[in-house]
């Protein structure tokens, strides 16, 4: 229901000027150009993210890369850096970077963890016995990696790639900063100008159409890949592949990711702090913005998990048409720019649920609609991995089906649920447009402050907020990255 509300609003709004206007708008040359640009950007970024994310995950999980425990966590850190912050860091250093190249650089640097993390988790779960069998049948290590491991990782990789595509399609901060004209920027402009809301709504509908095609393509690519283990015993930990002289290029590869994605933005912020000409913002203001950011993020994480549990469990256990539609609709909503969701919730809020309009509940609902797929995906994957046999045993011991969810399914899926909650928490901390529109009057978050200062190029005033955001987002991110290593020992 939540996921469908924005679409209802959009269709209503788009058809406001008659269907003739809709068709004219869709068939305009400019709309076609926008589709090409958005899709081109999404495809470029996703392809690079898949290559970077999968290679990095494989190096960390399966080779003797020096310092791989630290690298494993460090590679997840870009999740803590908002795309617009990374974009500001680059543009303020070299304004000439603006454009397609800069947008690709920033979007890859901030969104490759969406591929890296699920791939790493899947690699940890794979039974190395399969690879050993392939080796014993005469395959060389690289052949095994390409022919067997990559194939078994396909569901994880495509799921991650889907998140990247949808993220790129809906990202606003980075493309706006890089002045690369894609859908979101134009939609935002149309709303801001306020004179042509139906044009923005029509463009949003086109964007939803693109997202639907992507989601359908992903579910086809995922196919019916069965990665279940047959037989008894727990999988052993894979023996790391010795890199030998290959460790120099491997380490250079990792540095080539970490420097632009993590080191550079952090260095820029520290530089802004140091060269601050104006007074640093008072500590009290930073602390209060931090407090409301953490509180809102926590609320959003809890609410998203509560909604995601039933959807994720249904999606994992029943592959009926209805369930699939529900699951996919949550993904499509994810592709909508935050601003579209926010405005459609304003519309609903002002008409239907007036009491919570411009209050915290409506803002939290907005976050849930935006970030539900993160939570649903995490819950679904972890439920799929807990054997259905355990649920049957619980039933035979006299537990009702809702009792089984509470006493067996949910506790077993706990690592996945925690990971999903952490991802929603992080995404909410960084979220900008929906917060801008839906926040209760007077509420300031770190992201809002940051945005206000950077849009007027007051980087040094923005620096403390950027630092607070990154430090506090880095903690859950590191936990998320680190969690994948203890999962194998438990």
């Amino acid at each position: 229901m939540l996921a469908v509300i924005p679409m209802w609003y959009l269709v209503d709004r788009a058809s406001g000027e008659g269907w003739g206007a809709v068709i004219d708008e869709v068939w305009r040359r400019r709309t076609f150009d926008l589709v090409t640009r958005s899709v081109g950007l999404a495809v470029t970024v996703t392809v690079i993210c898949v290559v970077v994310g999968v290679t990095a995950a494989w190096l960390v999980a399966r080779t003797d890369l020096p310092g791989r425990r630290f690298i494993q966590v460090a590679l997840a850190l870009p999740l803590a850096i908002p795309s617009y912050l990374s974009a500001f860091a680059w543009v303020s250093w070299r304004p000439s970077l603006a454009g397609f190249g800069g947008a690709v650089l920033v979007l890859v640097a901030t969104s490759y963890p969406y591929v890296y993390l699920p791939t790493l988790a899947a690699l940890r779960r794979l039974d190395p016995a399969h690879e050993e069998v392939a080796r014993s049948l005469g395959r060389r290590p690289m052949q095994v990696a390409v022919q067997l491991t990559l194939r078994q990782l396909r569901p994880a990789i495509t799921a991650g790639a889907l998140l990247v595509v949808l993220y790129v399609l809906s990202d606003f901060g980075a493309v706006a900063t890089m002045r690369y004209e894609v859908f979101t920027w134009v939609i935002f402009g149309a709303y801001r100008a306020g004179f042509n809301p139906s044009r923005a709504a029509i463009l949003s509908c086109v964007l939803i159409g693109v997202a639907m095609i992507v989601v359908a393509a992903e579910s086809r690519a995922r196919g019916r890949a069965e990665v279940a283990r047959i037989g008894s015993g727990t999988p052993r930990t894979a023996r790391p592949l010795p890199l030998g002289p290959g460790r120099i290029p491997a380490l250079s590869f990792v540095s080539a990711i970490l420097v632009p994605a993590v080191v550079f933005p952090v260095a820029r912020i520290l530089y802004w702090m140091q060269t601050s000409e104006s007074e640093l913002s008072p500590l009290g203001e930073v602390a209060s913005a931090l407090g409301s950011t953490l509180a809102l993020s926590l609320l959003a994480a809890v609410a998203a998990i509560l909604v995601a549990l039933p959807v994720g469990i249904l999606a994992a256990r029943f592959r009926s048409m209805t369930v699939r539609t529900i699951e996919r609709s949550t993904y499509v909503a994810h592709a909508l720019p935050g601003i579209v969701i926010a405005i459609s919730l304003v519309f609903i809020g002002a008409r239907v649920v007036r009491p919570i309009y411009q209050r915290t509940p409506l803002l939290v609902i907005g976050y849930v609609v935006l970030f539900l797929p993160l939570a649903v995906g995490a819950v679904r994957t972890s439920v799929e991995q807990s054997p259905i046999r355990l649920e049957e045993v619980a039933r035979s011991l006299g537990t009702t089906s809702s009792g089984v969810v509470r006493r067996v399914t949910a506790p077993l899926a706990m690592p996945g649920i925690a990971a999903g909650a952490t991802m929603v928490f992080l995404a909410t901390m960084k979220e900008l447009p929906a917060t801008l529109v839906l926040r209760p009057t007077g509420t300031e978050t770190l992201a809002l402050r940051l945005w206000n200062f950077t849009t007027v190029s007051d980087y040094s005033a923005a620096a403390p907020y950027a630092l607070a955001l990154m430090v506090f987002a880095a903690v859950p991110t590191a936990l998320l990255g680190g969690a994948l290593s203890w999962r194998r020992s438990s």
Binding site: S232, T234, P387, R389, L390, E392, V393, A394, R395, S396, L397, G398, T399, T400, S401, R407, V408, P411, L412, M414
Partner: protein, 355 residues
């Protein structure tokens, strides 16, 4: 322990005319099975023969197309009605044990009990029954495969089920451990006085553990009898060859249907054949005695030893009699070097099946 069974019935489980298809594939048809209260019954059948489907129907995880399942005298499944698994009081012990990994031993065993001081006592009681007292606080990963299987049994026994069903519970254990765990598990079931249904493809397991063995072949129960009767008096040729090893030899059944003539000569029949004329006789390997040609009375069939496999307590010898291999089970001290000639004497009667 099973006080709420209606006294009129006396059967813990009745399966009457059950049929089940998956799409076009008919897995079970006209299955009949009755288990008396307190007894242990094995359903023996080849892999993929519908055993697990039958078990899942009894436990309430599958529906039926036709037929009725009555548990403790009440109808639990019919084509129109399915009682949900949690209200059937059928405990299951799955193949891999399937202990809840997030709970310790006490949490697993007490899963089906309502919380309270009685549950602590009951957990200790059933753990003692399976020989694992004092393991309450251990995690499933700290247990060996055999211990996990016994905890799974304790978990199924704890809520006093009307019936427990075991799905190939020892298949994943190694051979040495299997016999030991099997004995422990069935001792515990007998001590608890619980009715049990064991599903297995292992004929030794079925014959040694159950009071009654039901053979599931081609989707229905073709014979249900005590282990001894099943082995000695199989009603059909496929049952005879599935339960234990057998030499199946073409034969002509005499007109009085009490003897048959085959390549080993004339053999008496233990049971009158249904028809005379062309048929086959079944002779168990242990019924064949190998004699040195010099010691043998006249008229016995002779053959040349082809190979010999040594099993420790006995040995199997394959003898070529007129181009057909006959298998004999002999004591280890019987000399039967490959290449030597032996005479074959048949102990006791054979079974004949008309074709």
């Amino acid at each position: 322990m099973t006080a709420d069974i209606s006294p009129s019935s006396g059967a813990a489980l009745e399966v009457i005319g059950v049929a089940k298809s998956f799409g076009r594939n008919q897995v079970l048809h006209d299955v009949h099975l009755t288990i008396a209260e307190g007894s242990i019954v094995a359903v023996l059948g080849p892999s993929g023969g519908g055993k697990t489907t039958l078990l899942r129907i009894i436990a309430g995880f599958e529906t039926v197309d036709d037929g009725v399942v009555r548990i403790g005298g009440t109808t639990a499944t019919s084509a129109r009605l399915v009682v949900v698994p949690e209200r059937r009081r059928v405990g299951i012990v799955p193949q891999e044990g399937a202990l809840f990994p997030h709970l310790d031993v006490a949490g697993n065993v007490g899963f089906g009990l309502s919380r309270g001081p009685q549950s602590v006592d009951r957990i200790a009681e059933v753990l003692r029954l399976v020989g694992l007292s004092g393991t309450e606080r251990l995690r499933p990963t700290q247990l060996s495969g055999g211990q996990q299987q016994r905890v799974a049994l304790a978990r199924a026994l704890a809520p006093n089920p009307v019936l427990i069903v075991l799905d190939e519970p020892f298949a994943s254990l190694d051979a040495g451990l299997r016999t030991y765990v099997r004995d422990e598990v069935f001792d515990a079931i007998r001590a608890a006085g619980t009715t049990a249904l064991l599903v297995t493809h292992d004929q030794q397991e079925a014959l040694s553990m159950a009071d009654q063995v039901a053979v599931l072949l081609g989707g229905s129960i073709v014979q249900s009898a005590s282990p001894r009767d099943l082995y000695a008096e199989p009603e059909r040729l496929d049952v005879a060859t599935f339960v234990g090893e057998a030499n199946v030899i073409d034969a002509v059944i005499a007109d009085d249907r009490w003897s048959a003539t085959c390549s080993l000569g004339e053999v008496p029949l233990r049971r009158q054949a249904t028809r005379s004329g062309d048929g086959q006789v079944v002779i168990r390997p242990e019924q064949i005695e190998l004699l040195l040609p010099g010691d043998a009375p006249r008229g016995l069939a002779r053959g040349r030893v082809r190979s010999r496999s040594f099993f420790g307590h006995d040995a199997m010898v394959r003898v070529d009699v007129a181009g057909r291999i006959i298998v004999a089970r002999v004591a280890v001290d019987v000399l039967a070097e490959p290449g030597t000639e032996r005479a074959l004497r048949i102990d006791g009667g054979a079974l004949a099946f008309a074709v």
